[in-house]
């Protein structure tokens, strides 16, 4: 019973089916789930190829971090913004299917007619086991021969992190807040008496409706902004009393 072959076919079929599910699913979160399943199967393939360190790293990094990030973004997108499944032009869809079939035939031809590569390299299973295993061998290789690439990769990751943070920041407006707001009023948009932070060209983050403002003012409501909760314990505040602020 060629167990290896059976495992390969099971895991391979599962990964291809999950990949198809990812491409064809209507709901994007379902696509994300199928991609996670595909990656778990690919980790199994890596183990079959003798790369067990890569398999666990694939699960920890790719499935356990990158795909979670993608799922976060997917889930926070409003489903009404989703486009319909098919592309705008059926021409584009049919052309892509045609291209896909052509590419698959070309790749199959290339694989079948390839000649085996040259001499067997230095990392035979015996050599790897003598160093202590796959992880140790990869470690030795990275920190001796590929050290420069390792350092550059860390630079790439740092740049990526900075870029992601900068791109995803909300739009920063100027911080010209005139006074500290210690209580939040439910009647007014920012709990202030009309003073909003302004951007460099005078733009404000929220539009203030002047008619509603005037209506509120004329209703005689007073906004009390105070740090001391006991400062206004009197009962029955008269109408039309001006703001009293304790800053």
């Amino acid at each position: 019973m060629p167990w290896e072959l059976i495992f390969f076919y099971v895991i391979g079929a599962a990964s291809v089916l999950c990949a198809l599910g990812m491409v064809l699913a209507k709901n994007p979160v379902h696509s994300g789930i199928f991609l996670v399943l595909t990656f778990l199967n690919v980790a199994g393939i890596f183990v079959m190829l003798g790369a067990e360190f890569l398999a666990v790293i694939q699960i920890i990094v790719y499935t356990g971090a990158i795909l979670i990030l993608m799922l976060f973004v997917l889930m926070l997108v409003d489903p009404e913004d989703l486009p319909s499944f098919s592309s705008a032009a059926p021409l584009q869809r049919n052309l892509s299917v045609l291209l896909g079939i052509v590419l698959v035939l070309e790749l199959a031809a290339a694989i079948i007619t390839r000649t085996s590569l040259g001499a067997v390299g230095p990392d035979t299973p015996a050599a790897i086991a003598s160093v202590g295993g796959n992880t140790q061998a990869i470690g030795l290789r990275i920190y001796s021969k590929y050290l420069l690439a390792f350092e550059i990769t860390s630079l790439v990751l740092t740049v990526g992190v900075i870029g992601a943070v900068v791109l995803a920041l909300p739009e920063r407006l100027g911080e010209k807040v005139q006074r500290r707001r210690d209580t939040i009023s439910l009647a007014h948009a920012r709990g202030s008496d009309g003073l909003l932070p302004e951007g460099p060209k005078g733009e404000t983050p929220i539009t203030v409706d002047p008619q509603r403002e005037a209506a509120l003012q004329s209703a005689g409501r007073t906004l009390i902004m105070t740090k001391d909760p006991d400062a206004y314990t009197r009962v029955g505040v008269r109408q039309g009393r001006p703001d009293e602020t304790n800053d």
């Binding site: 979160v29 996670v36 067990e52 360190f53 666990v56 920890i60 356990g64 979670i68 992880t135």
Partner: protein, 347 residues
């Protein structure tokens, strides 16, 4: 490690699975009794002597509840999400070494289900796959609050998973292997300090990593004081708001299994696992030592729950990224430096 026929491996794995499930059920009893003792009350006493049948009573109650699925929920994902958490927690236990290879009436039997040579990373990997149960359950509930609670939970888990991984790198440097069995064997060596023979437990050589691991483990399993997303005093119950009956119990028990597996993991990595007086002659004594160490960690979990107030979510994340991560990196640096100096390779 001897080569054993595959059916023996299946039997060992089956036994490990059942032991874990029973201990998960009685962990609930243990927690309730210990919390009660800390709060000066009795805890479960009515079902059976000392309330020992309470887990069975809970199981019967939860199985008898109505199985509600919200109308707008995504049915298949809703059903599948708690299973993911439960399965991930159990899978991580398959690499924990409960001993070496013993001779069972002529057949060599391994006292562990599998010995991967990337065992420690495998536990981390399976833990990160378990986060999907939280996220997908939160999303499938079609409930905005559940989604936000679930995303917060997930963010907390992946941040503390990083700390967990980093705190273990010092151990990997000292033991030279990622296999849990290898780490356990490494700790059973003795260091001789004068007349004393102390076992080389990594809690002695990596105290900072131990503290970081404990904090990260508590946060990882969403336990108090890091359980804001699912706390009882919150308005909604976080990602498992819409789950009731048996599905909720899958989440709930998954959390307990996670606790047990992490405690086993901590005992293996820092306290030597089955190492203890007499454990090299009798494998049953080794199991006893492992059991005692695990109970100590589980008691520590319940103790934290009964004592500390909850962290606010931004305090929690700030703690992880601004305090624990630099400490973990510092620990790695110092460990590596000391190892190089000890090997005489510094200059």
């Amino acid at each position: 490690m001897a080569d054993q026929p595959i059916w023996v491996s299946f039997i060992v794995a089956f036994i490990v699975l059942n032991v874990l499930l029973i201990s998960m059920a009685y962990m609930t009893w243990f927690e309730r009794k210990v919390l009660a003792a800390m709060q000066d009350r009795l805890g479960p006493t009515r079902s059976g002597p000392h309330g020992l049948f309470q887990p069975l009573a809970d199981a019967v109650k939860l199985l008898g509840k109505e199985d509600l699925i919200p109308a707008a929920a995504d049915k298949w994902v809703f059903l599948f999400a708690p299973v993911a958490v439960f399965v991930a927690a159990l899978t991580a236990a398959s690499v924990i070494p409960f001993g070496g290879t013993i001779d069972f009436w002529g057949h060599p039997v391994n006292l562990f289900a599998a010995d991967l040579n990337v065992g420690a990373l495998f536990v981390l990997a399976v833990g990160s796959a378990g986060v999907y149960g939280i996220i997908l359950g939160a999303w499938a509930s079609a409930n905005r609050f559940a989604l936000l609670g679930g995303l917060r939970s997930a963010a907390q888990v992946i941040s503390y998973e990083l700390i967990l991984g980093f705190s273990l790198v010092g151990i990997f440097i000292l033991s030279g292997t990622l296999s849990l069995r290898g780490i356990m064997v490494e700790q059973s060596r003795s260091i001789e300090i004068g007349p004393l023979h102390i076992s080389n437990w990594f809690i002695l050589s990596q105290p900072l990593a131990f503290v970081l691991f404990l904090i990260a483990a508590v946060a990882e399993t969403n336990r108090a004081p890091f359980d804001l997303p699912e706390a009882e005093t919150e308005l909604v119950a976080g990602f498992h708001t819409e789950y009731s009956g048996f599905r909720f119990s899958l989440y709930f028990l998954g959390e307990y299994i996670n606790m047990i597996v992490v405690s086993l993991f901590a005992s293996t990595l820092f306290l030597g696992g089955t190492d203890g007086p007499g454990s090299d002659s009798y494998w049953a004594l080794g199991l006893l030592w492992l059991f005692l160490k695990t109970i100590a960690f589980l008691f520590f979990y319940v103790w934290l729950r009964g004592t500390l107030p909850r962290f606010r979510f931004d305090q929690l994340m700030g703690l992880a990224w601004k305090v624990l991560l630099p400490l973990a990196l510092f620990n790695i640096f110092i460990t590596a430096l000391l190892r190089i100096i000890a090997n005489g390779q510094l200059f």
